[in-house]
């Protein structure tokens, strides 16, 4: 287990079914589980939460989605976030329909909006893990 101190963000400690997800994130993709009956789910489990099937495989998400809702955090809860405020804490609905908790980055926090199209980025390294985050689908670089 990583040895956290209070000034570091909480680092994931993958459980059995979560290991593949974090490995994929390290490789720059978001993967979702799909059971034999076709039910998609996030977060990963050893069973399908819809039908109980244990016959599960993975699909690779496109990484595109929409901001379902968000809040700009000005006051950190955990000490590991004190030097990161203000930051955009968000729920992103992937085009596959599953929702992820994440951050919207590479955007002025005042520009984040519900309904905004976003795409996954894999630039945030936390210990040995890469945290999938999202940036505006129309980035400043695209507009030049």
């Amino acid at each position: 287990m990583p040895n956290d101190t209070s000034t570091q963000r909480p680092t994931p400690v993958p459980y059995a079914a979560a290991k593949a997800y974090w490995e994929a994130a390290g490789g720059g993709s978001i993967i979702l589980q799909r059971c034999a009956a076709g039910h998609l789910q996030f977060y990963p489990r050893a069973h399908c939460r819809t039908c109980g099937s244990t016959d599960l495989g993975w699909i690779t998400a496109t990484g595109s989605g929409t901001v379902h809702t968000f809040s700009i955090v000005y006051r950190a809860g955990h000490d590991g976030f004190v030097d990161r405020v203000p930051y955009a804490f968000a729920i992103v609905e992937l085009d596959e329909g599953q929702r992820l908790t994440s951050n919207i980055i590479n955007s002025d926090v005042d520009q984040v909006r519900i309904g905004m199209r976003v795409r996954a980025v894999f630039s945030d390294q936390l210990g040995e893990y890469t945290l999938p985050q999202f940036e505006p689908a129309q980035s400043k670089a695209d507009q030049t």
Partner: protein, 388 residues
């Protein structure tokens, strides 16, 4: 199912007047509350055969098996006990369970109590839990900087997006609670505030400014639940329990089906069904205010107004003392008291209202009161309806 509606009552209530109490262990506050509620019911420790507490965190003085440790501390050997932990709604949930247990003959006198020193505790509320959460499904959320206000803010922002709710609507809830607290001598804050005061305060997690968020206190409360027969002999007017409902949905925000409704739809429906009542029958409501948004979603979930209309509803004056449905008459968590699981005070204040002894804004002769709590971040709800 046998319906216990009307056969069980709250016979005693107590809210500690303390708000900042750095020198006492939370167990000392909780014992004060248990003894206070028993005295209010004209009872003493030997009368008690049931005990419930949701103490589970450091600020509650708690570790594993806390219901046992607190029973030991207080001096109880209960044969009915309940340590249900669904967050801030836990005490309401435990009161519902106690009513069913009393009706079933499992217990006769149950004390439900809660206390914490969240203001003075050296350990932040929820601190250290991240170390456990990051090993389970929380690993997909806590690394992104979830805070308690920001979790509720996700719902408030979505509600604003879908229904046009405004920061001014939210602020009105804080202003109303502060007005109610004005005459409550124990309230944490009593000076009147304006909508502008709320909106010009520092932002905590958009759209919540500081005054959109509840106070943090050291305090506690307790209620005594017993049969209506026994309650009749008590020195203070009992409040009959008429209906109860509870529901849990999800812990993690990425699992929420909706950010604009909550488990309160189900808990409220069940409570009204058991009581045989509807929202128009309620004279006064205590709606758990962890922030200015939770009472608004509760007004919609419980049917006091239509879905999406809570903003206009609160700004119309409907939630004021002389309005259609007065809420949080003691000042609520926003102005009076919030040591951690405010659910206990929603019941304490409901009973005080029915007795005509509300310390803040007393409603004129209420006959039916509703107490509604949330736990987690719109994760759980419990609702209880009481009558004279």
């Amino acid at each position: 199912m046998s319906n216990w509606s009307g056969s069980v009552a709250v016979a005693g209530v107590y809210e500690s007047p303390t708000r900042r109490d750095p020198n006492r262990h939370p167990f000392e506050i909780q014992a004060e509350c248990v003894l206070g509620a028993l005295a209010n019911a004209g009872m003493s420790l030997p009368d008690v055969d049931g005990f419930a507490t949701s103490a589970a965190l450091e600020a509650e003085g708690a570790g594993p098996f806390s219901v046992i440790e607190l029973a030991e501390w207080i001096g109880l050997r209960p044969t009915y006990f309940d340590s249900t932990d669904i967050g801030g709604a836990s005490p309401i949930s435990q009161i519902g369970h106690a009513a069913a247990a009393i009706h079933a003959g499992m217990a006769e006198v149950v004390v439900v109590s809660y206390a914490a020193n969240s203001y003075s505790s050296s350990v932040r509320w929820g601190e250290r839990t991240e170390d456990v959460e990051r090993e389970g499904p929380g690993q997909f959320e806590v690394p992104y900087g979830r805070t308690i206000p920001s979790a509720f803010a996700l719902a408030a922002n979505r509600h604003m997006y879908e229904y046009g709710t405004t920061p001014e609507h939210l602020a009105q809830v804080a202003v109303t609670c502060r007005a109610n607290a004005a005459t409550n001598p124990d309230a944490r804050y009593r000076s009147p505030i304006t909508i502008d005061d709320v909106l010009t305060g520092p932002m905590i997690a958009s759209p919540f400014h500081r005054l959109d968020c509840c106070v943090v206190t050291d305090s506690g409360g307790a209620v005594v639940v017993t049969t209506v027969e026994r309650a009749r002999d008590c020195p203070n007017q009992p409040a009959r329990l008429l209906g109860f409902g509870e529901s849990i949905h999800q812990q993690w925000l990425n699992q929420a089906d909706s950010f604009v409704s909550s488990p309160g739809v189900t808990s409220g429906h069940r409570a009204f069904a058991q009581a045989g009542l509807s929202p128009t029958d309620i004279d006064v409501a205590q709606l758990y205010d962890a922030n200015t948004f939770t009472p608004m979603i509760a007004l919609e979930d419980l049917g006091f107004c239509q879905r999406g209309e809570a903003g206009e509803f609160v700004s119309s004056g409907a939630i004021a003392r002389d309005g259609k449905i007065p809420i949080n008459t003691d000042g609520g968590g926003l102005s009076s008291n919030h040591p951690g699981r405010r659910g206990i005070f929603t019941v304490v204040e409901s009973v005080r209202q029915l007795r005509g002894r509300g310390p803040g804004a007393q409603v004129d002769n209420p006959e039916v009161a509703l107490a509604h709590g949330f736990g987690g971040e719109l994760s759980s709800c419990a609702t209880v309806i009481m009558g004279v």
